[in-house]
């Protein structure tokens, strides 16, 4: 999920969070694939940014994430159960779509 300025929205972007007004009323639902008409509407309202699917900015590579995981576990990985815990996090990182 990433935050995008309404001015920069392109048709086809999918909302990762609903757009709500000040009183909490949902204007456009989560998961909506935005069309030109949605974008025009958003730009005419007092809403500056929305959340769309996708990742924000340059993110870390899988190798970097795994190396950092190793660093964090290095003091305690020989303690009971810590290998199990580390493996679950490792598998999570390996399964991430980066």
């Amino acid at each position: 999920m990433k935050r995008v300025s309404v001015e920069l929205l392109k048709p086809g972007a999918k909302l990762a969070k609903p757009v709500v007004n000040d009183s909490g009323m949902i204007l456009i639902g989560e998961g909506t694939v935005l069309k030109d008409s949605h974008i025009d509407r958003l730009q005419s309202m007092s809403i500056s940014t929305v959340f769309v699917e996708g990742t924000a900015g340059p993110s870390k590579t899988r190798e970097e994430l795994l190396a950092e995981l190793d660093d964090r576990f290095k003091k305690t990985e020989d303690e009971p159960y810590m290998q199990t815990l580390k493996r679950v996090f490792k598998e999570y990182i390996e399964g991430m779509s980066l």
């Binding site: 959340f51 995981l69 660093d71 009971p80 159960y81 815990l85």
Partner: protein, 280 residues
């Protein structure tokens, strides 16, 4: 400094000139053992900053109803008095947390989220209350940082330069840890036992007598938050999970995978929430 002296200094934190004014006002209210929903509601409503922070937190991924709570009364009814009381304290020490240690607020938020997810998985009745214990588990760090800013900065530097756990750096510098300080201050502030024990024993969860399960959840949530590398609490290292906690929680491999996946997913949303916090 001996421990008794240390304790009385910590307990008198509300007389400090540097204490955030929002916290000073709040303490007068939360130290009352009996307070009604109306009293606390009007206290929050009188302060627009507090109101907007409370609404931001209740709509954050901590509680699992993002974007759906638009009024204070709704928040009080949905979450209950204890949760709102703890959350108020959390949001009032927000700046002090950032000042004590950059990343401590994120670490606390992460721990609150993990606590709720684990509590739900274990079928605990009040996952929101456990998440408040998670949010406040490191309150002792804030209190020590406010009371002894210079000495605490030394301990932080020591942890960083010596690549040691923050809790060991604290013990070297003060002979006590943030868990001791947090326990004292939460007793002084009349916190319920389901907050006191997780705060005091999140590093020694086997000592909890009244709420061992909640304490175990917060201990494990702290471990998970550090394993995920979310926020910063003084050192980057994952502490060892207490074997008694592992056995008590008795999570299967699949449980653990579910918890980690849900946790990482919520952390992604929390980052967005923190981002939106900076902008307003």
């Amino acid at each position: 400094m001996d421990i008794r002296n240390m304790r009385s200094q910590i307990e008198n934190i509300d007389t400090l000139p540097t204490i955030p004014s929002i916290l000073r006002k709040l303490l007068a209210v939360i130290e009352k053992p009996r307070i009604s929903i109306n009293e606390i509601g009007s206290f929050i409503a009188n302060d627009p900053v507090l109101t907007s922070r409370v609404l931001k937190v209740v709509n954050s991924p901590i509680y699992g109803f993002p974007g759906r709570i638009s009024s204070l009364n709704q928040a009080l009814i949905l979450l209950g008095l204890n949760v709102v009381r703890g959350m108020l304290l959390g949001v009032s020490v927000f700046e002090a947390m950032q000042k004590t240690m950059v990343g401590l607020w994120e670490h606390s938020l992460g721990c609150a989220i993990a606590s709720r997810i684990i509590a739900k998985k274990k079928g605990l009745k009040e996952p929101e209350e456990v998440s408040i214990a998670g949010l406040l588990h490191d309150i002792g760090k804030v209190v020590m940082g406010l009371k002894f800013p210079e000495e605490y900065a030394l301990a932080i530097a020591d942890a960083q330069n010596g690549h040691i756990f923050m809790i060991d750096a604290e013990k070297k510098q003060f002979n006590i840890s943030h868990a001791d300080a947090g326990g004292w201050i939460s007793l002084k502030w009349n916190f319920p036992q389901n907050l006191v024990e997780p705060i005091e024993y999140h590093h020694k969860p086997h000592l909890a007598k009244v709420v061992p399960l909640q304490t175990a959840v917060v201990h494990f949530a702290d471990v998970l938050t550090r394993a995920a590398g979310f926020g910063f609490s003084g050192d980057i290292f994952v502490p060892a999970v207490n074997p008694s906690v592992w056995q008590l929680l008795n999570l299967s491999d699949d449980d653990l995978k579910d918890i980690v996946a849900e946790f990482e997913d919520s952390l992604g949303q929390a980052e967005d929430f923190l981002l939106s916090d900076e902008q307003s």
